[in-house]
Symmetry: C2
Subunit: 372 residues, 2 copies
């Protein structure tokens, strides 16, 4: 009897405290849950379905049905950070109604955050003791496209006081994501607030617009890889930058402009930044889709942008490439080649992460400390 009571006492805390609702759940929703090992627990009622599974982090987990038709599953330990995922009900990919939906994967996808320990997560966590900036949703007219566009603009806490002008980082999302990604999945406002408050980053404005690659490549018949998102360059130069510079108190010299992006947005940032060094003095690619073709040399890349290394190093004050240690996106090879050629390039590797938002949060946190 004593042994049974002791066992129950041991079990209760494990059951009560080991699992908790994910921070990405909708209000009043218990599931999905996460535990300290990073396992996720999903649940959905589907009495009439034949087969239900969870598709997360490139792996499918078949769910198990109980006698009432409620399906559940526990995953393997997942990498910390946010992950897009889907349920699959009788062959149809669907959202989990219990989780927040964020724009990614070319549609509004379910999102779950696997928590890190508080200390590691501190740089992207809301801190009540620091001053907070704002993320402003702006609608503006694009003369080039003949339609309304939308961007988000982070202004630092001190922007509200006084008349100072600020430098601007143009920050891009990846393929099949959009202008909402950085301040929902990316937690960029917390990252900037914390980096600025600690003095590690200068107060700056961050502009997040739609990179014209917010659908999956291949969705538009006949569109080539070279065309995908390429129209963003003109929109940025002719519509977005003039809108920002006429709306906000910003500095307008090239030393006060940076451009960076993740994945396809990293490719765009390199394409645009390296072709317009007269306009951008800081360029970053986070898991950028910037692969070397066989035989390519540093001097051939980007129409010879690197050819005169000394001149490049004088003009470009930061050339940053980052990626996760468990993805294979070529930033290390590209950096080595450029460094061997004499270019001051910075390589950052995010330990234990793949092609995902935790990599990009970490990259942003590094990059904002190098600019302006």
């Amino acid at each position: 009897m004593k042994k049974i009571i002791f066992s129950i006492l041991l079990m209760v805390p494990m059951c009560l405290f080991a699992q908790k609702p994910a921070s990405t759940n909708v209000p009043a929703s218990q599931y999905p849950m996460v535990d300290e090992q990073g396992c996720a627990y999903f649940q959905i009622a589907a009495p009439d379905a034949k087969e239900v599974l969870v598709d997360i982090c490139s792996k499918k987990y078949p769910m198990t049905r109980d006698e009432k038709g409620v399906w559940t599953v526990k995953t393997d330990p997942l990498v910390v950070g946010p992950h897009y995922y889907a349920l699959n009900v009788d062959g149809v990919r669907v959202n989990d109604p219990a989780s927040e939906a964020v724009y990614g994967c070319g549609y509004f996808a379910s999102n779950i955050e696997i928590p890190e320990d508080d200390a590691t997560a501190a740089y992207y966590t809301f801190d009540r003791n620091v001053a907070h900036g704002q993320v402003r949703e702006c609608q503006y007219w694009s003369a080039l496209e003949g339609r309304m566009r939308r961007c988000y603009v982070y202004t630092p806490a001190e922007y509200e006081k006084g008349g100072r002008k600020y430098p601007v980082l143009y920050l891009q999302h990846g393929m099949a994501e959009n202008e909402t990604g950085w301040h929902t999945q990316g937690k960029m406002a917390n990252i900037l607030d914390n980096a600025i408050a600690s003095g590690k980053a200068k107060p700056m404005i961050v502009v997040m617009d739609n990179g014209n690659c917010d659908y999956g490549f291949g969705s538009k018949p006949g569109e080539s890889m070279n065309d995908f998102g390429a129209s963003f360059e003109k929109v940025l130069l002719q519509d977005i930058i003039p809108f920002v510079e006429s709306t906000f108190r910003v500095r307008t010299d090239r030393n006060s402009r940076a451009i960076a992006g993740l994945s396809w947005g990293g490719k765009q940032s390199f394409d645009i930044g390296l072709h317009h060094i007269d306009k951008f003095a800081y360029i970053g690619a986070f898991s950028g889709a910037i692969f070397l073709m066989p035989g390519q040399k540093a001097e051939d890349l980007y129409d010879g942008a690197f050819k005169d290394a000394a001149r490049f190093n004088k003009d470009v004050h930061a050339l940053f490439m980052g990626m996760g240690s468990v993805e294979n996106f070529g930033a290390d090879r590209m950096t080595k080649m450029l460094k061997d050629y004499g270019i001051n390039a910075t390589y950052f590797e995010s330990p234990g992460t793949a092609h995902e938002w935790l990599t990009w949060r970490r990259c942003l946190n590094q990059f904002v400390q190098m600019i302006f």
Copy 2:
């Protein structure tokens, strides 16, 4: 032969132009489509599903499967404006991956906008020829709740220039919606931009926060109807208003404060506004959940707030109640009773709409022209 060619010529334009992708579709998505009669056309691939249907505007439409497993359906003509909807795959309510997801119904629900004619829709449509305000996402610390909260704050276009102070409208969402509703489903920024630009409304700041009723009533076991969302009153008075008044350039006298909301947010606005006439001079309820109980008299309501009608009319410069003509939410009966009692109450009826966002867009457009 001539007859056949003539028939084809007649048919082609009907097929080509009658249907178009909904404005609420995700990028590169053809379906759902809408036609000029307000019918919606849905499509989803689900080869292994047994039964798929669309659930929209309180009606279920069974979808038809073709030989490839693609399911389609055309609805009856729907009321213009935005509608939450869901697909149902083998008994499971799921989102349509082809539509935007917005927070409503206590989770991220699929949304489809049934278009009005351009002239009728003009007041909530982006107009390239007017100046545009911003919607600012702010995170702040709630001492009362011991957690970070989020609000959206609309600032009028002219706020960026000069040092003027502005009056503030506190604007609330309904049950199972949240602080994002008014600027996504409600198109409040366009409504304010247009009303201000035309001189019909004064430049003002609009604060949209979470009313602590962002889940469905009944989701929290043991919670009474009286408790549902009631904690918002203290949060508004002790955390939100002080945050807004210390962060933005706003006027802080009662004649510069209004409160309004839709559905449950209308109830909250009446509860809070009528109990704090010292703080709010304008009060509105759009399809407000403010029902008269049998035998209730004007002088008994809200702890006697209406008792001295002359005094009330002197203090409260606008008491507004609106609703759709095809819902039954009691705003007409409440207004009549108050008017009979001598209260200057305004009743607005939205023609042809029910308990839905088009009613609330119209109510907001009326209300902002009556305040400040």
